[in-house]
């Protein structure tokens, strides 16, 4: 409940009636926005965030009593880097070493984090790197009727390992490229955002080794499975590192024999800000798993190899499943 000021008179004769997004429907520009704060409206994107939290609201034409599935596409491009540099008052080439660091954006509803994405401009990404955050809104999540509102924020209270690696003021310049709203029907599976193209089976981590685990719509604890990607130190034909990874995944020891690999996963809950380190279970196929409590996700995770790898660790791959 919010206090209502009786004398309030915000409207003027020159206000346009807000656009209404039909459901199912999608928008790629800011004309559809009924509410915008902490961000600029766009012609070829919905909004572009400033430094602080951003709030984005759309009027939707949807039945009042059904849950909605909202998919947000967020991106970083050259303009995002420019906006970030301006927000940090950086000039010239000051930012070249910084700008490619990963950013984490938390998508919230009514002040509760619902999903997160890792955004990182990587070589070969072209003009923009994009990630998708999908959330399910229950009718009670829209207290003001047809006004669908989500917030975009930077995670707060980060542990040192995350704060050191993430881009400071990383929300600055992030674009909201598309908002798609459907009636929610199929259960939403848990997902991973790593900064790389999102894949259902196996999502690679970049060198930063961080990812956001997003929850399933049905709730429940999650199993996060990770495995290291290694490159042999000696010059080898291009295919060899992949063979090495395959051996590791099959549990086939490479020669000479390496110590049994062990992995821990640092977990920072984006919901309550708690940080824990979970020892991962090792499996015969060379993968490692940890169980994430439903209440802790979305969460920022970082797997760590505790033993000397058989080769150079170039990153990780991961997938997440809901435990039934």
């Amino acid at each position: 409940m919010t206090y209502h000021l009786e004398s309030l008179h915000l409207g003027t004769d020159f206000d346009q009636p807000p656009a209404v997004l039909p459901v199912p429907g999608a928008t790629r520009n800011g004309d559809a926005l009924a509410l915008l704060d902490g961000a600029g409206r766009g012609g070829r994107f919905v909004a572009r965030a400033a430094v602080g939290p951003a709030l984005v609201g759309l009027r939707v034409d949807a039945p009042r009593d059904v849950p909605l599935r909202v998919a947000l596409t967020l991106g970083v491009d050259d303009a995002a880097i420019g906006a970030w540099a301006r927000a940090r008052a950086l000039e010239g080439d000051d930012h070249l070493r910084e700008e490619r660091r990963p950013r984490v954006v938390v998508v919230g509803v009514n002040g509760v984090p619902r999903a997160g994405v890792v955004l990182q401009r990587l070589a070969g990404d072209g003009s923009s790197s994009k990630q998708r955050a999908v959330l399910v809104l229950e009718p009670g999540d829209l207290p003001n009727g047809d006004l669908l509102t989500v917030s975009l924020e930077q995670p707060g209270g980060l542990p040192g390992w995350a704060a050191e690696d993430l881009l400071e003021d990383g929300l600055a310049g992030v674009s909201l490229d598309r908002v798609k709203v459907d009636v929610h029907e199929e259960p939403l599976r848990p997902s991973l955002s790593t900064g790389r193209a999102q894949q259902p089976q196996q999502t690679p981590f970049p060198a930063s080794g961080m990812a956001v685990v997003n929850p399933a719509s049905l709730g429940g604890d999650l199993r996060l499975r990770v495995w290291p990607r290694l490159r042999q130190e000696q010059a080898r034909p291009r295919s060899l590192p992949f063979r090495a990874v395959s051996r590791l995944r099959r549990g086939t020891p490479s020669a000479p024999a390496a110590p049994e690999p062990a992995v821990e996963v640092d977990v920072h809950s984006l919901v309550d800000g708690s940080t824990t380190t979970l020892p991962a279970d090792r499996h015969g196929d060379g993968t490692f798993t940890v169980r994430l409590a439903a209440a802790s996700v979305p969460a920022l995770v970082r797997p760590r190899l505790l033993t000397e790898p058989d080769g150079v660790l170039t990153g990780w791959s991961a997938r997440v499943r809901r435990l039934t």
Binding site: Y3, L5, G11, D37
Partner: protein
């Protein structure tokens, strides 16, 4: 630091301006118009000189320009000041004499008897005391010393005592010099960009005492000028107090009565004001527009803002907008002894009112006005009060402020216009340009303030409407009045937002070279103000009947 014009642009413009003004003004060796050129930004001086020369079209006179900046102003207030550029501009606009009054005062304070003759008046030797009342002199000294010390008020420390004595000594010499000029010259008018502090304010006091009108140019819009008329002044009252009443009377008799004709314009100004395109939004005039259009959007934003501030979205919120605490103290009628006293007393009152939220916001430019940590010191007293939050204004967006604020408190800040435009009530404990135009609650005493504050809180908690629709209309019409009716667009000054780099001087040159000067709005408006003794410049003639007024304004309406 704002960009500056290049010397070549200034030189080229000065040549053009020199010819232009020579042909467009009337001189008289016996009469002078005194013009202040003591603000670092050349746009101030440009406006002052343009007003003075517009007046010289109907009042033949010579220009005498006083300029300069002392070491303390350079340290505390100015980031740059070029006496050379100021004097170059003054000469280009036809000044008979343009001189560094700060150098004159420096010499006098130091006891050096350097001969300085300005317009035939010797300012270097013995000069009689000024006739200013001791109370007024003391008030100006005190306000200037606070500004120079960057404090809300002076205390008994050695540092503050020394500062006060230093300011007093300079003020005494400023007063003598101004007195000598007004006493010995036939002064038609004084044109000044400021009326406060010793360097500016003592000239204004002297002018009005010598029956000389003051034209007070504003740093905003196109050309905005207030007229301070000696016969309107009231003993013991600051000059702005008289202006407040004159503005209100004019608004009531000329503008409010045409509200139906002006309704569309007022609504458009209210709509445009969301972008804070310029003053009177001194408070947070930069940044994204307010994007709230209805109660539902506000409710969403309110929950978001409440979460960020830690306040309870379900309770009414009182927003207390701290002032730049040493800014022009005592410049108008106020209930509290100083701006800081109002803020501290309000915070103490808030401690006992846990039934509402209190949001205390510091001024975005406080760093220029306070070096003592005033805001943080007050905040420290209430760290254990969860219903009170102390924040920098810039930590919240304008949307958040609008979404949270259910009552706005200020002494004289422009928030008392900006928020009533949106139906959010405001209580003022001081007078301002709009305070008597009927859309805010103005309290003249401390008791009255707390009584009104409690009555407002009671009303908020009861869900009462504390503003009427008419008050919202008045606030919107006043916004239009400030930004349109009393703002004269002229190619001879250009819009303030043009800046002061080469672009400005190129545009001015183009105007002077290629536009014939008759009927320039600046000339017409100054002529109207002067002949009618109006309190401000007007874009059109407000004595016209409704039909002709509509024609003059070219209002949007079917023919």
């Amino acid at each position: 630091m704002p960009s500056q014009p290049s010397q070549s642009a200034l030189r080229s413009f000065s040549n053009v301006a020199s010819t232009f003004w020579e042909k467009n003004t009337l001189g008289s060796p016996r009469r002078v118009i005194l013009v202040e050129a003591m603000a670092q930004d050349l746009r101030y001086t440009l406006r002052n000189l343009t007003v003075a020369n517009a007046l010289r079209r109907i009042e033949p006179a010579e220009l005498v320009v006083y300029s300069g900046a002392d070491e303390e102003w350079n340290q505390v207030v100015w980031a740059y000041f070029s006496l050379e550029d100021q004097l170059r501009l003054a000469n280009a606009y036809g000044a008979r004499d343009a001189f560094d009054i700060h150098a004159v005062v420096d010499d006098r304070v130091a006891g050096r008897t350097t001969p300085v003759t300005v317009a035939g008046v010797e300012l270097g030797g013995e000069l009689p005391e000024s006739g200013i009342s001791p109370d007024r002199f003391e008030q100006i000294v005190y306000a200037t010393a606070c500004r120079m010390a960057k404090v809300a008020r002076l205390d008994d420390t050695e540092e503050h005592r020394a500062k006060r004595l230093q300011v007093e000594a300079r003020s005494r010499e400023f007063a003598r010099v101004y007195e000598a000029l007004f006493e010995n010259l036939d002064v038609v008018a004084l044109v000044s960009s400021h009326v406060d502090y010793n360097n500016f304010g003592l000239a204004v006091e002297s002018a009005l005492r010598h029956d000389v009108p003051v034209l007070f140019a504003q740093p905003t819009g196109g050309l905005k000028v207030y007229g301070l008329w000696p016969d309107q002044q009231q003993p013991g009252r600051p000059v702005r107090a008289v202006l407040t009443e004159e503005v209100a009377a004019f608004f009531e008799s000329h503008v409010w009565r045409h509200r139906d004709l002006l309704r569309r314009s007022a609504e458009l100004s209210a709509w445009r004001a969301r972008s804070a395109l310029g003053r009177p939004a001194w408070w947070r005039w930069q940044g994204p527009r307010v994007q709230l259009h209805g109660a539902e959007e506000r409710a969403e934003m309110r929950r978001h803002a409440a979460r960020i501030t830690g306040l309870d979205a379900a309770k009414p919120t009182v927003s207390v907008f701290n002032h730049a605490v040493s800014d022009a103290l005592g410049t108008n009628m106020e209930a509290f002894p100083d701006l800081g006293a109002w803020f501290e007393a309000t915070a103490e009152h808030a401690r006992g009112r846990r039934d509402v939220n209190w949001l205390f916001l510091d001024h975005p430019r406080q760093y220029l006005y306070d070096g003592s940590g005033f805001f943080d010191r007050v905040a420290e007293r209430y760290v254990d009060e969860p219903h009170m939050r102390f924040m920098a204004s810039l930590d919240l967006t304008k949307n958040m402020l609008v979404a949270l604020s259910d009552l706005v408190l200020t002494v004289r800040g422009s928030v008392a216009n900006e928020y009533p435009v949106l139906g959010i009530p405001a209580i003022q404990t001081g007078w301002s340009e709009w305070s008597h135009c009927g859309f805010t609650t103005v309290c003249d005493t401390v008791d009255d303030y707390f009584s009104e504050l409690d009555a407002h809180l009671k009303g908020l908690l009861a869900g009462d409407a504390l503003m009427t629709p008419e008050q919202v209309d008045r606030a919107r019409l006043w916004t239009w009045f400030y930004r349109a009716a009393t703002d004269v667009p002229s190619g001879l000054v250009q819009q303030w937002q043009v800046g002061q780099d080469d672009t400005l001087f190129d545009l001015l040159s183009t105007n002077m070279l290629h536009v014939e000067s008759d009927a320039d709005p600046a000339f017409a408006a100054v002529r109207r103000l002067w002949r009618r003794r109006d309190p401000f410049l007007t874009r059109v003639d407000w004595t016209l009947d409704a039909e002709r007024l509509a024609d003059s304004l070219a209002v949007v309406s079917p023919s």
